[in-house]
Symmetry: C2
Subunit: 466 residues, 2 copies
């Protein structure tokens, strides 16, 4: 057990929160998207929240916690939904929210601290020089850049730029290690892979350099279809139109759009599947021309709509917000995260959804992935039991899909189900005691764990915490 009094004394002068209700609040993310994680993680809480204001304070916290063997879990804004930032072994939540300075904006690049809200970054880059980030999650208005890089993978903009993991989509990270004397490292090039999407298990990001692109007043378009597969084909071909500057291509099957998109409901007739599109203003007319030769019908255009008041932007209907809006209407649902590999994505989508019918309702996100246009799926699942949920995922895999298991809290099970040797080696170097976000990297906790055996990894530390 952590000696809380001694820890607080050692951290005197820093901003510390120890009110249990507030600490528990900052120990949570959107893990409740998953009924499995909800059951497993609901009791999880840190002991203290520490909110550093500078890299020097981060170094101080890590040095202190290393000496006292206190776990440290880095937190952005808690908008992840894999339990990324949940402190399975208690200890300290390192809340990066107040390290939120924007340090420099230049043509094509921006330097900032990790706690900046993504939407604020975009606003600042736009005001400075008509620029914006290449991509952001649907939670841009509440998520931080550090959390996005540490726990996200891509999102709005990935149809143009691919994912965060792709070379060039993050330029430089400054990282503090968890050692007796913490080191401050500058990582770029391939070294970025050491800590990107590592859930803060092997270093604390204190400064970020990302590329920017030209900002536009993106136009939201909702295209309606009687048949979901027409919407899927529309999105698939649209994504390959390199001359159309797009930021979002999201086919969603009925009844989701009418049932869950309450503010847009007046535009979306019952029974319609849709494709949500974000398109640059100078490409709208070309998009309309494209649409004319498809089965689609324009239901909504933000550039000609009479009244946009109280309408969220299209990206807040897409990616993880689709499920979020669904949960607000029907809290019994959950979702999956699927990759339909190129080039068979459309055939696979059709096969999967024919198999499941209304139990698994299609939601696709078209992206560039390894240079090809293909789609992720974030389908809505009518949840019954954990066993059936497992079975549904197994059937997807048997059909040829890749499942990123959104019902697991470890990096590997939520990802490619294999050890990331680069991240593992860096964790051994940068966090020798295993104090950073314990329980999230299976390969570190249990090097012999067999991912192929389809067992669930259960972090022993979590059982102790209960």
């Amino acid at each position: 057990m952590t000696d809380l009094a001694a820890l607080k004394k050692a951290l005197e002068g820093l901003k510390i929160e120890d009110n249990p209700a507030l600490v528990k609040q900052k120990s949570r993310d959107f893990f409740w998207y998953s009924p499995v994680l909800k059951r497993q993680l609901d009791a999880v809480s840190a002991d203290l929240v520490v909110t550093p204001k500078s890299e020097a304070e981060v170094v101080h916290v890590l040095r202190t916690c290393f000496a006292m063997d206190v776990p440290v879990t880095v937190r952005g804004c808690g908008t992840g939904n894999y339990g990324q930032a949940m402190p399975l072994s208690g200890g300290i939540i390192l809340n990066m929210a107040e390290m939120n300075r924007i340090i420099d904006i230049k043509p094509g690049r921006l330097v900032c601290e990790p706690g900046v809200i993504l939407h604020d970054l975009d606003q600042a880059a736009r005001a400075d020089s008509g620029q914006e980030m290449r991509m952001h999650p649907s939670t841009a208005k509440t998520a931080s850049i550090g959390g996005f890089i540490g726990g996200g993978s891509g999102g709005v903009g990935s149809i143009r730029w691919g994912g965060l993991r792709d070379l060039g989509n993050v330029l430089r990270l400054r990282v503090v290690t968890m050692e007796e004397t913490p080191r401050v490292l500058e990582l770029d090039g391939w070294d970025l892979q050491k800590v990107s999407h590592a859930y803060g298990t092997n270093g604390v990001i204190t400064e970020i350099e990302i590329p920017l692109t030209a900002a536009y007043d993106w136009v939201d378009v909702i295209v309606g279809f009687d048949d979901f597969m027409d919407a899927a084909r529309y999105g698939n071909t649209l994504g390959t139109h390199d001359g159309l500057l797009l930021k979002l291509v999201t086919p969603i099957a009925a009844p989701i759009p009418h049932d869950y998109f309450l503010r847009h409901r007046k535009f979306i007739p019952e029974g319609k599947s849709v494709c949500l599109v974000m398109v640059a203003p100078h490409a709208v007319e070309s998009l309309i021309a494209y649409t004319e030769r498809t089965a689609g019908e324009i239901l909504f255009r933000s550039d000609t709509a009479d009244d946009l008041k109280r309408l969220p932007p299209a990206y807040e209907l897409a990616w993880n917000h689709t499920t979020l809006r669904g949960l607000r209407v029907d809290d019994s649902i959950t979702y999956l995260q699927v990759l339909y590999p190129f080039p068979d994505q459309l055939a696979l989508v059709e096969k999967v959804h024919a198999h499941f019918g209304d139990e698994v309702v299609a939601h696709l996100e078209f992206v560039r992935f390894d240079g090809n246009v293909t789609c992720f799926g974030l389908p809505i699942v009518r949840f019954t039991t954990e066993e059936r949920l497992e079975e549904i995922m197994r059937i997807h895999e048997d059909m040829g899909c890749v499942i990123f298991n959104a019902h697991r809290y470890t990096l590997e099970e939520g990802g490619m189900k294999q050890t990331d040797e680069v991240q593992l080696a860096f964790k051994r170097e940068a966090d020798p005691k295993g104090l950073l976000n314990p329980g999230k990297m299976v390969a570190f906790e249990d090097p012999d764990f067999d991912f192929a055996a389809h067992k669930v990894y259960l972090f022993p530390g979590l059982e102790q915490a209960k």
Copy 2:
């Protein structure tokens, strides 16, 4: 025969050139890249050059020539190399060089007249708002935007944006028809296909709206390889890196780089194949990281080179400039224009070049084509006879390549070897007498011509002209 005196009188008040040497000069393009076109077209000349200063003057010329049955061939700056703008039946060259106003620049778009030099457009957009065109040919400093849209297909920038034919890469064209009373039409969406890349056979473009993108101080990088196929693989994979903002990816086999790139020769050892890359400044370090894990070695970087004086930009070593530089060293060579279809492009490149050895030296241009990364080839051919040249192209086709025959002056033979029904229908409507650039659209001149028979189309009007 044209009654020149009557024609000149009818056009009084316009800028007219009738000096035969100057008229012949303005009747030519870079057709001499091809020994076949050189033989066929060397004698071609118009009777007069008319240089309109406004759309009203264009209307006047077309009305007059329609009434007098005088052919009109529209010319940009004559940098094409298919004889696009050569007046096979004489008549008038309509020289658009002085309709060169930039009318409007906005975020993401620019409106101008057709005679603006591409490099000047870029300079103006950059000065106005840090923008530039999405793509340009290697002749950007001497070619016009109207000529590019009327006779080009893509080029520097196509690795990001695809080709000019792709929806969204041209936004609007204003076109004057060749009728008793010429009409002025505004075309957008799918209608753009009526006149884009139609060599001015079915209308005269008088105003252009194109998309713009963010301008960067592009960095030229030359990467060296001992084995050309390593350069080809390097380019192919590089092109799929969606997070790297690239403008040019050009693998070129030895001995071209050392033998023909005289100003860069000091950077390029004998025997080296290269890949030319243009990359945004904020992506250079990521490109270097990418290169580290390949067989490539950085030979040159414009951002760290000591002295750039007298060095042309990398794009003036690429696309059709590769052949141009070759011709300056060895005027016996010629070239091909090849498409290696996705996804078999690398295997096909390897097979083709193993077959021909030094007779056909590889030069690839990676592009996005229908949403996939693949490559065009513009290989250097050690020319011997026209028969062998034909045979070389036939072997390419038999192996699975698409040949855009750079040794033919018609749209179809230089393109997809089939009738473009949209362009043909529009020509019948907009140029009922067939006076616009006669002899270039086979489907109009000889509707029964059989492209599958592998015969060469010979425009009867050209024989008469000799």
